[in-house]
């Protein structure tokens, strides 16, 4: 069955007009080089890095004409646009997709599988820094659909001044939940209107951090081959219970994510637990109002536990596969941006965690870079603990994250006990999973 007429017509008219607009300058130049169209996300963060990458790439690859499309605001708008472009046949050749949307990319068949391209490189590919765990981040059900470009993970942002006032050592924060919550509780008691800590349970980070808590005690989100979630046992109960303990012991206020961020920036909160990708944002907003530090994410199970990874992966879309020359150029660009030099630019201009470890060992690139940047170093030292950002299968994959957030809210605002909320959450998520 085809798509309904009217919309398709309108879309193709728009797409046609757009294509005409893009094509005109090209014809004027009579440029015969293949054009590689790239689109990235998070303009505010990534603009400087991509400008520099483009410059270098263009110098080294004069046979390709590289153009950027206007970058998207965030991962959600990025994938939405990509899905629309898939319908009109107007996808960019390379795009950067949030790791949480990789399953959608696979299910809609938007991307070119990279395994054959990687195999063609032979043994040199892994030697260039793309280690198997790194490759795994770009895989869905074993298919290599992307290579990770920028990677993030949870850290503890702390207000060192408040930590000291509460009798803690900002350089050595407790690495277990009991210790961190107790310290946060003391900070909350320093004066009225002071909050101990905050860890988002809604928005982009909410369900992501919940996965992190489950991983942290050695649990799993879903077991392979099962059609139900795996966090209905003791690990899930522990994770759900932690949210209530954050409120009761850690003096976490029940306020919206954005309000909590403002309060932390204003110096009225001890800890903010969130992704390292927020670092430059916090640094800019806080300035010298107080001493901002980062600490390790609490981990109760050091042996089996891990931390959840966020970030995005570079993907070659189906539209690049139409022309072998474009495909070859796209592959070169992919290797360049996810390789050591791309990693170097991202770390220097954006933050995040290095994806390509070779960059860390190269004195021309990042070796020594983190020595006097302790805030960045925290995340680098956690790299060994990364676990995948689990993507729920089926058509309701994204909605499930929203459902998880909703029940976490019920735990935090005490409208349900943690056990009851978890039971309801598990029931509803299982219903949304494909049978």
């Amino acid at each position: 069955m085809t798509l309904d007429r009217p919309t398709a017509t309108r879309r193709s008219v728009l797409a046609g007009a757009l294509a005409l607009g893009l094509a005109l300058p090209a014809t004027a130049l009579a440029d015969s080089r293949p054009e590689l169209v790239v689109q990235y996300t998070f303009a505010v963060a990534f603009d400087p890095a991509f400008e520099r990458l483009k410059e270098t790439f263009q110098r080294e690859n004069p046979d390709v004409r590289l153009t950027f499309r206007a970058p998207h605001k965030d991962y959600d708008t990025g994938i939405q646009a990509l899905l629309r472009e898939a319908v009109t046949g107007d996808m960019p050749h390379v795009t950067y997709v949030g790791l949480n949307h990789m399953r959608v990319v696979k299910e809609r068949g938007l991307a070119v599988e990279l395994a054959p391209l990687m195999k063609a490189e032979g043994s040199t590919f892994e030697a260039q820094g793309w280690t198997p765990p790194l490759q795994a981040l770009g895989q869905v059900d074993g298919q290599q659909l992307g290579l990770p470009f920028a990677m993030s993970m949870g850290v503890v942002y702390s207000n060192a001044d408040l930590v000291r006032r509460a009798g803690g050592d900002p350089a050595a924060l407790p690495r277990d939940w009991d210790g961190l919550l107790a310290l946060a509780g003391r900070i909350g008691k320093l004066e009225s209107g002071m909050a101990g800590m905050y860890m988002p349970w809604t928005g982009a980070s909410g369900a992501w951090l919940f996965q992190g808590l489950v991983y942290g005690v050695g649990g799993q989100i879903m077991r392979p081959g099962e059609k139900k979630v795996a966090f209905d046992g003791k690990e899930g109960k522990y994770a759900a219970g932690l949210y209530r303990r954050m409120v009761d012991d850690g003096a976490m206020p029940d306020i919206p994510d954005q309000a909590a961020r403002q309060q932390f920036m204003a110096g009225r909160m001890g800890f903010f637990l969130d992704s390292i990708s927020r670092l430059s944002n916090f640094e800019r907003a806080i300035g010298d109002r107080f001493e901002l530090r980062t600490g390790y994410y609490p981990l109760d199970n050091r042996e089996a536990g891990g931390l959840v990874t966020g970030g995005n992966a570079a993907v070659i879309t189906r539209s690049a596969a139409k022309d072998p020359k474009v495909l070859a150029a796209a592959w070169r660009w992919l290797k360049f941006t996810t390789g050591p030099r791309g990693t170097n630019e991202v770390i220097r201009h954006v933050g995040y965690v290095p994806v390509n470890v070779l960059a860390l060992e190269d004195p021309k690139l990042l070796k020594g870079y983190f020595d006097d940047r302790p805030r960045h170093r925290t995340a680098v030292e956690q790299i060994g603990l990364v676990r995948e950002w689990f993507q729920f299968p089926g058509p309701n994959g994204v909605k499930i994250n929203d459902t998880i957030s909703e029940y976490l809210q019920a735990i935090v605002d005490k409208s349900q006990t943690p056990d009851a909320a978890l039971a309801a959450m598990v029931r509803e998520v299982n219903q949304l999973l494909p049978r």
């Binding site: 069955m1 209107g193 928005g203 029940d254 954005q258 204003a266 994204v398 929203d402 909703e406 605002d413």
Partner: protein
């Protein structure tokens, strides 16, 4: 001159507009109606016909029921208050020439500002611990309130912001209505002994404002049903879906969850609701036309 050719020319003149109407209004509406009968997911290459399944699932859908109830409560709060407030402001401004231009502009300002930008401002004003609203509450000896973060108060808070946004719009409509009332009627009433403010309002202003009132009431109702930006910008439907409203649900289902079929069914239900309201308006207004 021959009649048919006039009609032909008329049609010719109307054709571009008709074409646009079909292309941008009727066509997409039909497309949404068709989509609502499918299980299409955004970007999917397959599409399956599922009949009325999407509609049948709605009554049992907890999110839809919550969104519908919230939208009705929101409209029920915002419509009467913003209409009454708009009327009050218009009467006050009309009553005195002093600072008329200033007050008119001041109260109309919320209408012309960008809702999303204002949402950020409101978010700060209502911040649970740093916001001026709570600093004031605390200074007056009250407990601080978690306006936007508490499931019990978030909808009322959004409604208050909605009133602030819409009252100025209603005020301008009422000002226009007031201008249309002939001065002589007031003079005649004064001669008849009805010259106190309340008597003048009740015997002349209010009845003559009837058609304006109805128009404003229905427009205000439709506008309040369309609440979206502020929810998308501040609360995202939370906490615990306490501020989930229909337009936001449609947006989220369609563009965040990619469930186009379901979102299209929601859109059709929403559209039909608004259509019923519009028909209601035309019938009531029609009865009043002779009055004006």
């Amino acid at each position: 001159m021959k009649r048919p050719s006039t009609a032909g020319v008329g049609l010719l003149f109307a054709a571009p507009a008709m074409f646009g109407l079909f292309l941008f209004v009727i066509g997409p509406t039909l497309a949404v109606a068709v989509m609502s009968l499918t299980d299409w997911q955004l970007g999917a290459s397959e599409i399956g016909f599922v009949g009325l399944d999407n509609y049948r699932a709605l009554p049992g859908d907890r999110v839809f029921r919550t969104a519908l109830a919230n939208t009705l409560v929101y409209a029920g709060l915002v419509t009467p208050i913003s209409v009454a407030l708009g009327l009050g402001l218009a009467l006050l401004i009309e009553a005195s020439p002093l600072g008329r231009g200033f007050f008119r502009a001041a109260f109309f300002l919320p209408v012309v500002t960008t809702t999303v930008a204002m949402a950020v401002v409101w978010e700060f004003v209502l911040h649970p611990s740093l916001g001026p609203a709570n600093l004031m509450l605390r200074a007056l000896g009250f407990a601080p309130a978690n306006f936007l973060g508490d499931a019990g108060s978030v909808l009322a808070t959004l409604a208050a912001i909605g009133v602030w946004e819409n009252a100025g719009f209603n005020m301008v409509l009422f000002l226009a209505g007031l201008k249309a009332i002939p001065r002589e009627l007031y003079q005649a009433a004064a001669v008849d002994g009805a010259d106190r403010a309340w008597e003048r309002f009740w015997t002349i202003t209010f009845p003559l404002l009837g058609p304006t009132m109805l128009f404003v009431a229905v427009i205000a109702l439709l506008r309040s049903f369309k609440v979206f930006e502020i929810v998308a910008a501040i609360t995202q439907g939370g906490p615990r879906r306490a501020s989930e409203v229909l337009l936001f649900t449609i947006y989220q289902e369609g563009f965040s969850f990619f469930r186009i079929g379901h979102a299209a069914a929601l859109t059709m239900v929403f559209l039909c609701g608004l259509l019923v309201l519009a028909l209601f308006q035309i019938r009531l207004l029609g009865r009043r036309v002779h009055y004006a």
